[in-house]
């Protein structure tokens, strides 16, 4: 090939090395294919920001002094796998999708599925030959979204968020996190009896996920289960979108889907030839259930010595929610609370139940219909005081 003759010494005939060149090219291609680089883009960006830019004079940039704190944070994230923000999915209203490690509901709180769920080794798909992360896994908390009934007399479905603790291989890549989070979100079975969460992804698995700077790509084993209304189908797709975006933690990255076997329509009706994202904050009501209770967390055990505070998010008329505390079938207390902002925006609310005698309680937070006072939306959580 003529483009390689530039390498030949004038003393030699062109073509003399043709065979060896061909052989060498083939050998190097084949040999290098044995090495599968792992994804390190996030690490590169983190490290580069931590170190700061090198200035024209050769010194390091002004961010240098920030390094110790940032380094400590990175170390903490890697070592612990979780950032304990202790039972305070904090004051941030609106887009409730933190990165998976950002929030741990409480040390004692685990989703019902966290322990008894079969560990389906979800990471195996996203990086089959990932580097020898032979160290012990870390436990991370993943926000997973589910399609559930908002309450009220008409069957309306929206998204609810659960924090699920799951052990993963140390130092997971964003793609690993997406795979794990989606696998958790697609298994609604542990919640379907207690919370009525639908199982639109029953029988479907995530077979691969990739995370680029500007897109999350997800490969599914199938198009989803049959028999759901168009709105539930839409929410089922959004459920995965919110979960994947939260797992990556870089805002509303577009999400694209691909279905094994060449199908191009999720649920047979939603084209995969488009990218999906969560709506902007002021339109989150389209996807998210009007009321979430975020604290106490599900089945949390609280000390009887301290007052119990209930927190959550709400997108409700005139920012008003009602609540009722029950113990068994007995109503213990009722009240009203104000969210920080009313619908269509999504605000946060918080109210105290005071100190409670030991026992198991359920707190229900609801929106009363402006029309007739009936319950239009609700969420509830059960917890124990000891």
């Amino acid at each position: 090939m003529s483009d390689r003759t530039e390498f030949l010494h004038p003393d030699f005939e062109p073509g003399e090395f043709d065979r060896i060149e061909r052989e060498l090219r083939r050998s190097l291609t084949q040999e290098s294919g044995r090495m599968r680089p792992t994804d390190r883009l996030d690490t590169i960006l983190h490290e580069a920001h931590r170190a700061g830019p090198v200035t024209a004079t050769g010194g390091t940039g002004m961010r240098r002094w920030l390094a110790p704190a940032a380094a400590a944070a990175v170390v903490a994230a890697i070592a612990g796998g979780v950032w304990l923000s202790n039972q305070d999915p904090t004051a941030t209203p609106g887009p409730p999708a933190g990165s998976p490690s950002a929030t741990v509901p409480a040390p004692t709180a685990t989703g019902p599925s966290a322990t008894d769920q079969p560990t389906t080794a979800p990471t195996q798909t996203s990086s089959p030959t990932t580097s020898p992360n032979s160290g012990p896994g870390v436990v991370m908390t993943f926000p997973a979204y589910f399609v559930g009934p908002v309450g009220g007399s008409t069957p309306t479905y929206k998204l609810f968020r659960e924090f699920i603790r799951q052990e993963v291989a140390a130092d997971p890549t964003p793609a690993d996190k997406v795979t794990v989070a989606l696998t958790l979100a697609m298994n609604a079975q542990p919640y379907s009896n207690t919370d009525g969460y639908l199982q639109p992804w029953s029988g479907t698995t995530v077979t691969a996920a990739t995370v680029a700077n500007d897109v999350i790509e997800v490969r599914l084993s199938g198009p989803g289960a049959e028999g759901f209304t168009p709105e539930v189908q839409r929410l089922a797709v959004q459920q995965l979108v919110w979960t994947a975006e939260a797992a990556v933690g870089r805002g509303p990255l577009p999400v694209r889907f691909e279905i094994e076997g060449g199908a191009t329509k999720l649920f047979g009706s939603i084209s995969t030839d488009q990218s999906f994202t969560r709506p902007s904050a002021d339109e989150s009501w389209k996807d998210l259930a009007p009321i979430w209770v975020t604290a106490p967390s599900r089945d949390q055990v609280l000390p009887s010595a301290s007052p119990v505070t209930v927190k959550g998010e709400a997108s409700v008329f005139e920012a008003t929610v009602g609540w009722e505390l029950t113990r068994g079938t007995t109503s213990v207390k009722t009240g009203n609370a104000m969210a920080t902002i009313g619908a269509p925006s999504r605000g946060t609310y918080s109210f105290s139940l005071g100190t409670l005698a030991p026992g198991t309680y359920t707190v229900k937070v609801y929106e009363a219909s402006a029309k007739d006072g009936s319950i239009a939306a609700e969420d509830s959580v059960t917890f124990t005081v000891k």
């Binding site: 390498f7 680089p37 883009l41």
Partner: protein, 202 residues
Amino acid sequence: MAERDPGGDTRGRRGGAGTGGAGARTPGADVPSADVAITELYAAHWTGLVRLAWLLLRDDLAAEEVVQDAFIAVHRRWDSLRSHESAAAYLRRAVVNGARSGLRHRGVEERYLTREQGEPTAYARRTEVSAEDRALDAEATSSMVTALGRLPQRQREVLTMRYYLDLSEAEIADALGISAGSVKAHAHRGLAALRDRMETSS
């Protein structure tokens, strides 16, 4: 509900672009931010450069670390590099230099060659025996790669960059910090030595 708040859209897009603070430091509007540039460079060169480093180093983790360091260095110097061409050239220089110092400091070269000599079909870790590997090609690859591994460092670098990454003579000269004439000479001597060894062995 029909109204869309344009402000909300803008907010969403900016949040999703992943363009970090480094962009704000760049004066020219048409120079992409360091994050964007690195992400694009990463997409284009990460796999190739890691494999190049691996071919030179024969150590998975060391190869990734060398290339990772090169990308971090480019990110930190993006304000002065400012173009993909100069950044790609910087990456190649950094990777070749990193691979060399890796070899010097860890003696992995010796370990690799010893292993290869003792057991011609043994490869570095994280190698999988697949169907293709069992094909006849594997044997030829193995002996060719072994022969390449026994060449002097410069010849090995030149041939690997040329026949694995398909770099031009000028690009190789730049990466290695030598003249184009030297690249030619190293390539030629290397090929000649490989030809001799392959002929002897077959």
